[in-house]
């Protein structure tokens, strides 16, 4: 099985369960299902805990950047604020507008949420701690991030609201445009590592150096495109509240809105983890345990994204497109070309 572990405890646990299954005469595919469920639960738990922390962090950081304190009252340092907010949102009425396309409207948040969890299938948390080491890991990640577009289009289209529609179209155009430089930046890393597997990419970085030093251009392109993919300021046009009220999620409330919110932060965390893996050597690092290194590097990207959000104004639609197609794409192509020459030498 792919569940490998540094410590032997999970392995022993697995062997014990396998023994139990054979003793009881249960089919082994049931065991596979059980293992997959446990993995999924662990990953979703990891995401939820981190998202709760992320939202708190964003508000706290934003507060301090903006001369405020951020949340302070709920729990120590306001740490329980997100929990309180989540509870509030969950008990709110789930409003489905009369003009909405009911089923599409209800499905959209879930369609958005699932790929944001799926990304984590291939993320290496520590040596051997990975749900599944796909040999096409990076390609899989690109495919999963691409799945957000239909969800946002569904949300905007089905709401029966013109603002939502505008937001959805913006989201569609933006995500598709920024996918291209994002993948090209990843491609350069893949060329250096010679593999699509994320584990191989980390190993390649352990052998040479972190790819951020070999790929500074690629890193910048990745960073900008990733923030655009995440719909965060300065690229938060799909939900630009001063222009489009709330963009594609204008009509969402209560639980469904919470899912969109959760997705946003899960995506932020996912993108940061991938970036840390691709450019900063993933879990590898001295002294500290690998999992701590992984978290540290991930949160470095998270911090960067938040810092940018609270500093910059928003771009305009045409400028956003220009940035992607006229600047990032050529730069990414040149970067790929240069990397090709470098690898050939």
């Amino acid at each position: 099985m792919y569940l490998a572990a540094t410590s032997s405890l999970p392995l022993r646990l697995y062997q014990w369960t396998e023994q139990l299954f054979t003793d009881l005469g249960l089919p082994l595919w049931l065991l596979a299902v059980l293992v997959a469920t446990v993995k999924a639960a662990l990953i979703i738990g990891f995401i939820l805990i981190n998202v709760i922390f992320l939202i708190w962090l964003e508000r706290k950081l934003g507060g301090h950047i903006q001369n405020r304190l951020g949340p302070v009252y709920t729990g120590p340092f306001g740490l329980l604020q997100t929990v309180a907010d989540a509870l509030k949102v969950l008990v709110k009425e789930d409003i489905i507008p009369a003009a909405a396309d009911r089923w599409v409207f209800m499905a959209a948040p879930l369609v958005a949420f699932v790929p944001s969890v799926m990304i984590w299938l291939v993320v290496p948390f520590a040596p051997g701690v990975q749900a599944r080491d796909l040999n096409i890991g990076t390609l899989y990640v690109a495919a999963m991030t691409g799945c957000t577009v239909p969800a946002l289009l569904m949300a905007g289209w089905s709401s029966g609201n013109k603002w939502s529609l505008l937001g959805a179209f913006r989201a569609g155009a933006q995500l598709v445009s920024y996918e291209v430089p994002l993948i090209l930046a990843t491609l350069a890393v893949v060329m250096l590592a010679g593999s699509l597997s994320l584990n191989d990419i980390i190993r390649a970085q352990q052998e040479s150096t972190w790819f951020i030093f070999l790929q500074p251009l690629g890193f910048v392109v990745y960073l900008i495109s990733a923030i655009a993919e995440l719909n965060r300021t300065p690229f938060d046009l799909p939900e630009a509240e001063s222009e489009l009220v709330a963009g594609f999620n204008t009509e969402y409330s209560g639980f469904r809105f919470a899912i969109f919110f959760l997705t946003e932060y899960a995506n932020l965390l996912g993108s940061s983890a991938i970036a840390a893996t691709l450019f900063l050597g993933g879990w590898s690092g001295p002294f500290l345990p690998p999992f701590v290194w992984f978290l540290l590097k991930t949160y470095l990207f998270v911090f960067l994204a938040m810092w940018i959000r609270f500093t910059l104004p928003r771009l305009r639609v045409d400028q956003l497109m220009n940035l992607s197609w006229k600047f990032l794409l050529p730069v990414a192509l040149i970067n790929v070309l240069g990397t090709g020459v470098f690898v050939a030498l």
Binding site: I65, N67, S242, L312, P313, R314, R316, D318
Partner: protein, 395 residues
């Protein structure tokens, strides 16, 4: 709003080379049939600065036409004034442009004083000048913050409010109110300012330039801001004059017209300051003119504090004010432009008719001209740049 789409708010546009905008592309692209969409921006919308309802016709994201629907905040200000004595009107003027109460009150009392031929003590004149300029900075700071919000930058808002808070406190200390001051009186002002208060203003004057530099670092120098505002919402001088624009909107279009210079009231004649102006007439020009005005206000404040004489703060005025029959027009340079007060008197204690010239009301007419051909995102920046206050538009 029966035929909002059909009417183009009757704007006759001056056509000259400078103002030709990209028109909407042909609505038939090959076999693909596209339509223009009408969208209601407001009255509940984060960026319409109150309850403006703009019926926007868009082609994709491009604004084809705008029709402003105002009146959601109409409170019969002028009708109410006909039933009030002049002193009773003063607090009502605070509520027209609720972000610039001081200058509004000033417009009223100056008109009444002019009609009566009343002398105002010098100390009162200086205090009024100080209050007007503090009000200008106060109002511009709010504009700065909300303009940042319109462009999607959330941080400038809180920085601006940090400094605005200081001025609010200064106002509160003298007038007892942070927004609705009811401070000006016919013949002077309601309360005297203390030496301690003057000292606090001086401290503010010392600290504020650093804050302005901070704003420049945060927003003015930002390439995204420049890219989003340059060449957007352009209005040339001829159009601005024809549409009766005043204040920063007119000055940013290349007409350095400032009532403090051109029809001096209070003690502006004796103070040294520059009229900030720019020739581009776009959103960026209006932005920079307002920032520069804050710097000039600091200069005025410094001199006014220096020259603040001792003496009476409230001169002798008749207890019962009856304006001689006739009509009177008085105006001051408010933060948003020319605030005018037109009083018709029949000799009674109450005005026979009072008409308020609200700069925002006049400027809002320019919105379709500025916005046509630009994108939805620009629309928000343009509304922010003309700095409307709906309380004043609807009265």
């Amino acid at each position: 709003m029966p035929d909002a789409a059909a009417t183009v708010s009757g704007a006759t546009r001056e056509q000259d080379g400078e103002e030709v905008r990209p028109t909407a592309p042909d609505s038939e692209v090959g076999d693909l049939h596209t339509e223009e969409m009408m969208i209601n921006m407001g009255p509940q919308h984060p960026s319409t600065h109150g309850v403006l309802r703009a019926v926007v016709t868009i082609d994709g994201e491009r604004v084809v036409d705008v029709d402003s629907d105002v009146g959601y905040l109409h409170r019969c200000f002028e009708k109410i004034c006909e039933k009030l004595t002049y002193h009773q009107i003063i607090p009502y003027t605070d509520r027209t442009d609720y972000l610039a109460g001081m200058t509004n009150e000033l417009a009223l009392v100056l008109t009444v004083e002019k009609a009566l031929g009343l002398e105002v003590p010098r100390r009162a004149q200086f205090i009024r000048t100080i209050m007007s300029e503090l009000q200008r900075i106060h109002s511009h700071l709010l504009w700065f913050g909300t303009f940042g919000l319109d462009l999607g930058a959330t941080t400038p808002f809180l920085y601006a409010f940090r400094d605005r808070e200081t001025i609010s406190d200064l106002f509160e200390e003298i007038t007892g109110a942070r927004m609705m001051y009811n401070y000006m009186r016919v013949g002077g002002v309601r309360n005297d300012v203390s030496a301690a208060w003057v000292k606090k203003v001086r401290t503010f004057l010392r600290q504020f330039p650093a804050a302005l530099r901070e704003y420049d670092d945060l927003l003015t120098g930002n390439p995204i801001l420049k890219a989003r505002t340059r060449g957007v919402g352009k209005i040339n001088a001829r159009t601005a004059i024809a549409y009766g624009a005043s204040g920063p909107v007119l000055r940013a279009s290349g007409v350095p017209y400032d009532l403090r210079k051109h029809d001096p009231y209070l003690v502006y004649d004796e103070l040294e300051f520059d009229v900030a102006w720019a020739s581009e007439g776009d959103v960026l020009a209006r932005y920079q003119v307002r920032l520069e005005e804050m710097r000039q206000s600091l200069r005025i404040l410094e001199q006014a504090l220096e020259g603040l004489p001792e003496g009476e703060y409230l001169g002798k005025a008749p207890r019962i004010i009856k304006l001689p029959p006739g009509h009177y027009y008085g105006h001051v340079e408010g933060p948003r432009g020319e605030v005018g007060c037109y009083i018709v008197s029949d000799g009674d204690r109450k005005p026979y008719r009072l008409h308020w010239r609200a700069p925002s009301f006049v400027h809002l007419q320019l919105l379709p001209l500025m916005a046509r051909g630009h994108l939805m995102g620009d629309m928000v920046a343009i509304i922010g740049s003309i700095d409307i206050v709906m309380g004043e538009v609807d009265r």
